[in-house]
């Protein structure tokens, strides 16, 4: 039976088995509109026929650029039905980045959202001879454009409906030709180094992974999720397509990118995923609001949150807790925890995951103490997400869990983590060399992360990116991300970049968090005119210095990493930004590029000067460039003297 070996096959099954259940919801014009599985199947069929009608051939690639909307999810399945390969692209990419992806995959069509995306594609169209058609969803502002190669998506669907009699058999043939080894989707990795690579994932990768992970967390067709993370990210594809189609649950799309919190509150998903940054942000907002609340509410909140942090996680894990504490927790649940969960849109959450970066233990425990089953997972695009994940009741802030079902793990001599699973990608598109570097003949894939398996629990712990782990000049272990994460756990610190490989000591760049520091400035009547001015304020520097020194004290207790204490630091005059190439689109620090771009600042950190003048080029969202000048103060931080140990394990 070919039905369970492709996404279009699963759609057919869902339309038959639970056709009246909702498949998609999107808030539009202030009302949640929905599509049942049967309706979605009809929409997808019309679109697939339309795509064949306008000349889509099996094996072609079609780019998708837009925010999470049912039309785009249905487009992806329509593309698959027609035998072609969907390639979702990060919608906030600048034209250059889109050009690279479209050129590399040789896309013949691009399905885009609105004028903004159309403009980007038109800008690069001349360089892309293969790109024939631009299909768009929102016609606003496009009336005057040359429509010789542009069609509204709805029109393509109308063409498809009209051509049904003629092309139905062709569509059926193409759909039946899909099997477990056909390409399901191609996703470009954000690339912390070099150019993005196109990861080819087969139906087997996606469906096997979805099946195993759905069983792991007992997901059913009753789940409901909010699709708000970029469609080009593998996680969204697994949650909103893989698992959603396997289980038959409903994917909800927000009204706009700015209404996500409100929509989350309205939908109350049962299964939720967010990066650590999101959970931090929500606590920052909550804390700010509580500070503005009346004394009674503030007192109540403080008292019950103290109780929650003491017993909440234990109650969640079903461990023994005294009767009085249980009673108090139940009262707190009515008065504080439930309202907080409700405001955060987490009332119905049964399983929540965070991944991508390390999460601060306090942040992690905060949510768990409210009774939310927040867990961590560790994954990669190349693995179709899942490598390890935490089972219910075995949740800790410092591990990433046990191997997911079907995944084998091994740790190499160098400390690098390798895995093998049914989810392992087919290849990097048109890049056999990189494929061979990453995946060996037996199917083992290098994660690029250094870590170890904890013997007592069998959980995996990640230390850092394997290539970033290095040594200081004196031979002490240098793990920059580990230190950066410690810094980032302070709400005032948004981003940190630690330097020190092959140097005598460690230094750091720090980005302040404008929300937290701005609020602090407001409450303390500190006036500032710009980000730059706030970042350079002496009191802000004083606070950050306090944070750095606290991190140093904590590092001093870690025998492996005590050499990573930060001796000197500066607060950057601009926020690190993906548009400037300093972060990836998934907001990971690009160490090398930052090192090159701010080399004058790095030099100043090491030559003992107390301030440095610099000029930095910035890119605005529309691609224009400008520059900002600043004089930055460099501060020395107190360190705790320890005898640094050298380490052989990490290469």
């Amino acid at each position: 039976m070919a039905e369970l070996t492709s996404i279009p096959g699963l759609l057919e099954r869902n339309a038959r088995k639970c056709g009246a259940r909702p498949a998609y919801r999107e808030k539009e014009f202030g009302i949640w509109q929905s599509w049942t599985w049967a309706e979605a199947a009809a929409e997808v069929e019309a679109l697939a026929l339309g795509l064949i009608e306008i000349g889509l051939n099996p094996g072609d690639h079609v780019a998708i650029v837009g925010r999470n909307r049912p039309q785009f999810y249905m487009s992806m399945v329509a593309i698959q039905s027609a035998g072609a390969v969907p390639v979702p692209v990060y919608q906030d990419s600048v034209a250059e980045e889109i050009a690279y992806v479209l050129d590399h995959c040789g896309a013949c069509m691009a399905i885009v959202e609105d004028q903004e995306q159309v403009d980007k594609v038109i800008e690069i169209k001349e360089r892309l001879p293969g790109l024939k058609d631009i299909l768009y969803v929102d016609p606003r502002g496009l009336r005057k454009y040359d429509h010789s190669h542009m069609t509204p998506l709805a029109e393509v669907q109308a063409l498809g409906r009209a051509a049904k009699g003629r092309l139905e058999d062709e569509l059926k043939r193409r759909r039946e030709a899909l099997d477990y080894d056909s390409t399901c989707v191609m996703l470009y990795t954000s690339g912390t180094t070099g150019r993005p690579k196109g990861v080819v994932l087969s139906n087997r990768n996606i469906i096997e992974t979805s099946k195993a992970s759905a069983e792991f967390d007992k997901l059913t067709e009753q789940e409901s999720i909010l699709a708000y993370l970029p469609m080009a990210w593998v996680g969204d594809f697994i949650f909103s397509v893989g698992q959603a189609y396997w289980c038959g649950f409903c994917t909800n799309c927000p009204e706009s990118t700015t209404t996500m919190y409100e929509n989350l509150h309205e939908i109350g998903p049962t299964y939720f995923f967010a990066p650590p940054r999101y959970f931090e942000e929500r606590i920052t907002i909550l804390t700010i609001r509580m500070e503005d609340a009346g004394a009674f509410k503030r007192g109540m909140y403080k008292r019950f949150m103290e109780l929650a942090s003491r017993v909440g996680p234990r109650i969640l894990d079903g461990e023994p807790v005294g009767f009085m504490d249980r009673l108090k927790y139940a009262i707190g649940n009515v008065l504080v925890y439930r309202p907080v969960r409700n405001r955060a849109g987490m009332s119905n959450v049964r399983v929540a995951y965070t991944a991508g970066e390390a999460i601060g233990p306090e942040i992690f425990d905060f949510w768990r103490s409210l009774g939310i089953n927040l867990k961590q997972l560790y994954g990669q695009t190349e693995a179709s997400v899942f490598i390890t994940q935490q089972p219910d009741n075995e949740v800790r802030a410092d591990t990433v869990g046990v191997p997911s079902p079907g995944v084998e793990l091994k740790i190499a001599e160098s400390g690098e983590v390798f895995y093998r699973s049914p989810g392992v990608f087919v290849e990097y598109y048109k890049n056999a060399e990189s494929t061979a570097d990453t995946k060996d003949a037996e199917g083992w894939v290098a994660t690029g992360d250094a870590g170890f398996i904890e013997e007592s629990s069998g959980h995996l712990r990640i230390i850092d990116r394997a290539k970033d782990v290095g040594k200081l000049a004196n031979g002490a272990l240098f793990a920059p991300k580990y230190v950066e994460n410690k810094l980032k756990f302070f709400p005032n610190v948004l981003e940190a970049v630690v330097h020190g490989a092959d140097r005598d000591f460690c230094t750091a760049f720090i980005n302040i968090d404008l929300t937290a520091v701005g609020n602090w400035a407001e409450r303390n009547n500190i006036a500032y005119g710009s980000y730059q001015e706030l970042a350079g304020h002496p009191e802000v520097l004083e606070t950050i210095q306090g944070h750095v020194e606290e991190v140093n004290r904590s590092l001093a207790t870690d025998e492996m990493l005590s050499g990573c204490q930060i001796h000197r630091f500066l607060v950057l005059h601009k926020e690190l930004d993906a548009d400037d190439g300093e972060l990836t689109r998934t907001r990971k620090v690009r160490r090398k590029i930052i090192g090159e771009k701010f080399h004058d600042l790095v030099t100043a950190l090491y030559d003992g000067s107390s301030s440095v003048s610099t000029e930095t080029e910035v890119t605005y969202e529309d691609g224009r460039k400008g520059s900002i000048k600043a004089t930055l103060e460099i501060r020395d931080a107190k360190t705790v003297p320890v005898e640094a140990k050298t380490l052989e394990a990490a290469e």
């Binding site: 009302i31 502002g141 005057k144 009204e255 409100e262």
Partner: protein, 271 residues
């Protein structure tokens, strides 16, 4: 006078229709002060028409004459081929003329949604009793009106502030809410009094985009007053220039830019 009496095609290829509104020899006095003296100009269907001039030139007075707030002592206002009798502003509004104000006139305590709903007032016909009981016609009307309002909210991308009290919004968003309220009246002619005053560059770009989209998408004729010359020259099809209540120029942005009287009025001239 300007030569383009009939239909014409703009630089960007839009078809502009015939005359929609014509001001003939308007003179407006407040006591001994002459705010507008003997001005004539017209506005074509589908056009973006700007009125510019230094402070105190009489631009806002002109807009108030069009919207029926002021009644000129001399001159005639012709709207769609017939002479307009002296009308109250709400009667003018019913004819399909909507406006925004220079210094935002919204209800601060009401939500964005409610503020915009007030723009539908001219389209509500149910009796007060029916509205109070929320029954029959009133209910149907409210649903229809809400649908129009939601389309505009979507159009102007203000979904996220739907339920926020307007008093809490930043300036740029308030301006957008005001534009939304004018748009839901489904006007034939939209009057904008300094839509970009006090905005930063980014907000101005957004607002310009919205004005062009309104004109493009709904075919709304727009008459606007604006100080930012860059914006005016980019947006408008034709420009009227006023100074001390007189008209000193009228034509396409390029024509106006080359007009010596206009240059003198803006840059000053030795007397």
């Amino acid at each position: 006078m300007n030569a383009m009496a009939g239909n014409y095609t703009t630089a960007d290829g839009r078809q502009i229709g015939g005359v929609m509104m014509e001001m003939k020899n308007i003179t407006l006095k407040f006591g001994g002060v002459t705010a507008i003296s003997d001005i004539s100009f017209d506005v074509h269907e589908g056009e973006i028409r700007a009125i510019i001039g230094p402070n105190g030139a009489g631009k806002s007075s002109m807009l108030n004459v069009i919207s029926g707030f002021y009644h000129p002592q001399e001159g005639e206002v012709w709207f769609r081929g017939s002479k307009r009798p002296a009308m109250k502003p709400y009667e003018v509004a019913r004819q399909g003329v909507a406006r925004t104000f220079q210094n935002i006139a919204l209800f601060d305590g009401m939500s964005t949604l409610d503020n915009i709903m007030t723009g539908r007032l001219t389209h509500m016909k149910a009796s007060m009793l029916s509205q109070a009981l929320w029954w029959g016609k009133a209910e149907r009307e409210e649903v229809e009106n809400r649908a129009v309002v939601e389309k505009i909210i979507d159009f102007l991308e203000i979904q996220h502030i739907r339920k926020t009290p307007v008093g809490r919004l930043p300036y740029g968003l308030k301006k957008r809410v005001e534009l939304a309220r004018a748009l839901v009246a489904e006007p034939k002619l939209l009057l904008l009094d300094e839509p970009m005053a006090g905005m930063n560059v980014e907000e101005k770009e957004d607002m310009s985009r919205f004005i062009l989209d309104v004109n493009d998408e709904f075919g709304t004729t727009i008459c606007l007053i604006e100080h930012d010359m860059g914006v005016v020259m980019d947006l408008s099809d034709r420009v009227v220039v006023m100074d001390y209540g007189r008209k000193i120029g009228d034509g396409t942005p390029d024509e106006v830019r080359g007009n010596q009287d206009v240059i003198d009025a803006y840059l000053g001239v030795e007397h």
